[in-house]
């Protein structure tokens, strides 16, 4: 398994947010983390990335333990995060946002370049010099994905991949993620657009009150009306 989360427990101060999360993701696979608001999706992602320290449990990436590891060292193992709310650097231009973060710690033979990002998202090519805070929501999300890809990750983690975006822009994002997946990248994605998610996912995990309560393939989830209704309100 590329990513293996076992019995992950995370606290914010004295308040417990995760109660033993277990999930697995194989190389080249796409997994989704589903659940209603406040159930622990972002906390799980932040714990994987080391932004929020895990209290106990284990997170391994290609056999390397991530718990207790500083965020930048975790990222350098090949984990690229597209955070919730995009969090573009507002005082850097679009081009600088991409260049500032580019790295190839894993010495990948065909690394991501600004040109490849522009091929993936042609919309960005025309906004090269625009400051980060002057981009539209869709452009910012494309840039956030591009910025994460410029670190040449093996696993791309997206928190709310298409939140607040117009349907047309959402389709562009999903199309781009499909392309990235076809190139062999593993993806862990959180989003609310279930229809689009199930189309792309190999495996789905539903989190409820800080614990994984359901996991299975997209077909299994489509058929499990009870799980859809009980955990996702569909």
């Amino acid at each position: 398994m590329m990513l293996k989360v076992s019995n992950l427990v995370t606290h914010y101060g004295t308040s417990q947010a995760l109660f033993g999360v277990d999930l697995e993701l194989g190389a080249g696979q796409v997994a989704t983390l589903l659940g209603r608001n406040g159930m622990g999706k972002t906390t799980t992602i932040n714990s994987i990335m080391g932004v929020v320290p895990a209290s106990s449990g284990s997170i391994t990436f290609e056999g390397t333990e991530l718990v207790g590891r500083p965020s930048f060292k975790t990222a350098n193992l090949g984990l690229g995060l597209v955070p919730e709310g995009r969090q573009i650097f507002p005082n850097l231009s679009m081009w600088e946002n991409l260049v500032a973060t580019s790295s190839n710690h894993l010495k990948i033979t065909n690394p991501w370049t600004v040109e490849r990002i522009f091929d993936l998202f042609p919309e960005l090519a025309t906004r090269k010099g625009s400051m980060g805070n002057l981009l539209s929501g869709g452009e910012q999300q494309m840039l956030a994905i591009g910025r994460a890809l410029m670190t040449n990750p093996k696993l791309l983690i997206l928190d709310e991949a298409t939140e607040g975006l117009a349907p047309l822009v959402r389709q562009k994002i999903w199309a781009a993620l499909n392309l990235v997946r076809e190139q062999g990248m593993s993806i862990l994605v959180v989003d609310k657009n279930l229809k689009d998610l199930l189309r792309i996912a190999d495996r789905n995990f539903i989190i409820e009150r800080g614990k994984i309560v359901w996991s299975g393939t997209s077909d299994e989830l489509r058929k499990d009306r009870d799980a859809l209704h009980r955990y996702l309100g569909v």
């Binding site: 965020s71 507002p90 850097l92």
Partner: protein, 321 residues
């Protein structure tokens, strides 16, 4: 040239004026204006160095004057011992030794204090840098051998090859070229990937860290570069004033430097120099009218902060800048 922004033009015009006017005044017998310009240019270098931290790195250092003092004492102490004996290891009028000491000691002080200070954030960073600055101030205040609080007179200026620092024109030439180099250095740093990471960390440190950057290292490097640059300004200031005292390191001096950067416009190339120019000129002009010159000066600054975005350089910004 065609693509130059309005602020770019202002920067070029300002720097050309600084290159021409002070020598012109000196040649026409107005040595006072040359003195004023020398102070302005030297403090401009210190302000440019602080701008790298404050404007581009978002690190509000309140102890930057300590580096000026260290740089100045790197001239004063070897020169003092060369004149009066003792401390043979460094007793010398050799300007290159003074220069190496000014930059080396300042960089080392920045490395040690930065390594500790940068583990804190926001107001705590401000307080801890001020505390380190005050530590340097009290250290030199307690050194009776160098006259403590009364300060030290530099009898012989640093002796540099090809440059005679006793000549105001040559000292100004060196200071001006140093200022231009300092500005270019900061510009190169800011436009490099290192600078982009620094600015990105200023915007959102956590995000930069999760993208794989150990921003602590980047900030510490910037802190050391800035400290060394400010120490160099101290080297020039010591040679200019030929009198140094711990007062140069006092936290109020750090506050003045910060004022200059914010007044002129943080994170702009000319802002720190514009700020130091206005600060020094206003100090001269207003203090000739009243001993309470701080009051109108303060009111002016409050007005500027309230109504002009981005300091004085904000006034000159063109559309889209």
């Amino acid at each position: 040239m065609k693509n130059m922004t309005k602020t770019g033009w202002i920067t070029v015009i300002g720097m050309v004026m600084l290159a021409i006017l002070p020598p012109y005044f000196l040649l026409n017998g107005h040595a006072f204006y040359m003195d004023l310009a020398l102070r302005l240019v030297i403090l401009g270098i210190a302000a440019v160095s602080l701008n790298l931290l404050l404007g581009h790195g978002g690190m509000v250092s309140f102890g930057h004057a300590a580096f000026i003092g260290l740089g100045a004492y790197a001239v004063g102490i070897p020169s003092y011992h060369a004149t009066w004996g003792g401390f043979d290891l460094i007793a010398s009028y050799n300007g290159l030794l003074h220069l190496a000491l000014a930059i080396g000691v300042s960089a080392l002080f920045a490395l040690i204090t930065g390594a500790i200070s940068l583990r804190t954030k926001g107001v705590y960073f401000l307080m801890i840098t001020m505390a380190f600055g005050q530590m340097a101030f009290f250290l030199f205040q307690s050194l009776d051998v160098y006259n403590g609080d009364d300060g030290l007179t530099i009898d012989v200026r640093s002796e540099l090859p090809f440059i005679n620092l006793d000549s105001p024109m040559q000292l100004y030439g060196l200071s001006y070229v140093s200022l231009v180099i300092a500005m270019l250095m900061v510009k190169i740093i800011v436009n490099s990937r290192f600078g982009m990471v620094l600015q990105g960390a200023k915007d959102n440190n956590e995000r930069m860290v999760t993208l794989g950057y150990n921003t602590y290292f980047y900030r510490l490097t910037a802190y050391v570069i800035s400290g060394a640059m400010c120490g160099y300004a101290g080297f020039l200031l010591g040679n200019f004033t030929t009198f140094i005292s711990p007062d140069m390191m006092h936290w109020t001096r750090s506050g003045e430097l910060m004022f200059m950067v914010i007044l002129g416009g943080a994170s702009t190339a000319l802002g720190p120099i514009l700020g130091s120019s206005v600060f020094i000129l206003m100090e001269e002009v207003l203090s000739s009218f009243t001993i309470f010159w701080h009051l109108p000066f303060g009111l002016m600054l409050i007005g500027l902060v309230l109504f002009v975005r981005g300091g004085l350089m904000g006034l000159f910004k063109g559309k889209g800048e």
